[in-house]
Symmetry: C2
Subunit: 209 residues, 2 copies
């Protein structure tokens, strides 16, 4: 049996969708969660392929970069879509999510660096909120056209997992009012009600991010 070890921080972030693929596929994995500030990461960083986590170890063979890990697992266990065209749209949605997160990260960074309140406010109003609105608009358009309720095709793909887990984070942090986004909330419910995910979500560590 392949030994999988997924190393990330003690949060959902860029690893949760991969964890969920393991759960959906019913495949065992080591879920290594590094605590910020206890020194473990400082020691590990230089040993990772790109100086970053998540890293997936597959019998010792290491794969860096969250989307690469996710796509590797999704392809192996059948969560990439059913045709090359579906695969392309799954990829496109995940890339769009990453572009959105990049804009949002500027707001997180301004906060972390304790920038003046007006600078934080400016980044929020001029960058983060418009990026979120544009991203939500794209998701809503996709869901309006979806016959299955999934983002792509008739089955759950890793695009659904990535998007939904991030919706949880946006809601937990005051950037999503689910009453205002019924389609996005319906997607969240659909994904979180998949029996194997429902069980995982009820028992996993609850984290802010």
């Amino acid at each position: 049996m392949v030994h999988y070890k997924l190393t990330y921080f003690a949060s959902r972030g860029f690893a949760e969708a991969s964890r969920q693929i393991f759960k959906l596929a019913g495949v065992e994995f080591e879920d290594i969660r590094i605590i910020h500030g206890d020194g473990t990461w400082d020691e590990l960083k230089s040993k990772t392929p790109f100086g970053q986590i998540p890293v997936l170890s597959v019998d010792g063979f290491e794969i860096p970069q969250s989307s690469a890990i996710l796509r590797y697992l999704a392809r192996k266990y059948g969560f990439v879509g059913q045709t090359p065209e579906e695969e392309a749209w799954v990829d496109a949605i995940v890339d769009q999510f990453k572009d959105f997160i990049e804009a949002f990260r500027q707001y997180a960074t301004a906060n972390r660096l304790n920038k003046p309140a007006e600078e934080i406010d400016r980044v929020k109003t001029e960058i983060a909120i418009p990026a979120r609105d544009a991203y939500f608009k794209i998701l809503n358009t996709i869901l309006e056209r979806s016959k299955s309720g999934f983002l792509v095709g008739n089955n759950v793909t890793f695009a659904d997992l990535v998007v939904v887990d991030n919706l949880v984070t946006l809601e937990k942090n005051g950037f999503l009012n689910k009453g205002e986004q019924p389609k996005l909330d319906a997607l969240r419910q659909k994904i979180h009600n998949l029996p194997k995910l429902k069980e995982w979500i009820a028992t996993r560590p609850d984290t802010q991010y």
Copy 2:
């Protein structure tokens, strides 16, 4: 025969690697190049799936997002690597490139917005240059271990195309002195000497980005 139409601006940027896959595969495509500021893009923008280009049309079926397009074509024509593990590393390198470009874009944006010289300088020194150095270090480590001289496995993949085209841009814009980066320059030469690419590079429109 499938009718491919690749729409992008009149630059290499996020479309060139896909153009190169068509050339390497010997597949015809419509190479639509939009001129900035002539009004075409303003009109087209709202008709694209995500309000962005590149967009690839495959017999009218549209795929947005540069990496999704690239992976779709690369998978179809055999430039994704030979095993699932090679595919994962190709993906990881392209994602790492995108993270690097995102950091670099902050510098481009500061320039475009005509920020004060000291602010531009700060972004260059504190963000762009360190991001480039970290990225070059990763590429050098990968190339040191490569037996073939390609980034992944024994054949050209879309990771080589993406990385090399960006090296051209970095050099053209004063961010790469090829004498200081012999391994990166050897990769560039190796890729640009692939006969079908050599021919394309000699005849394609020469652009700064």
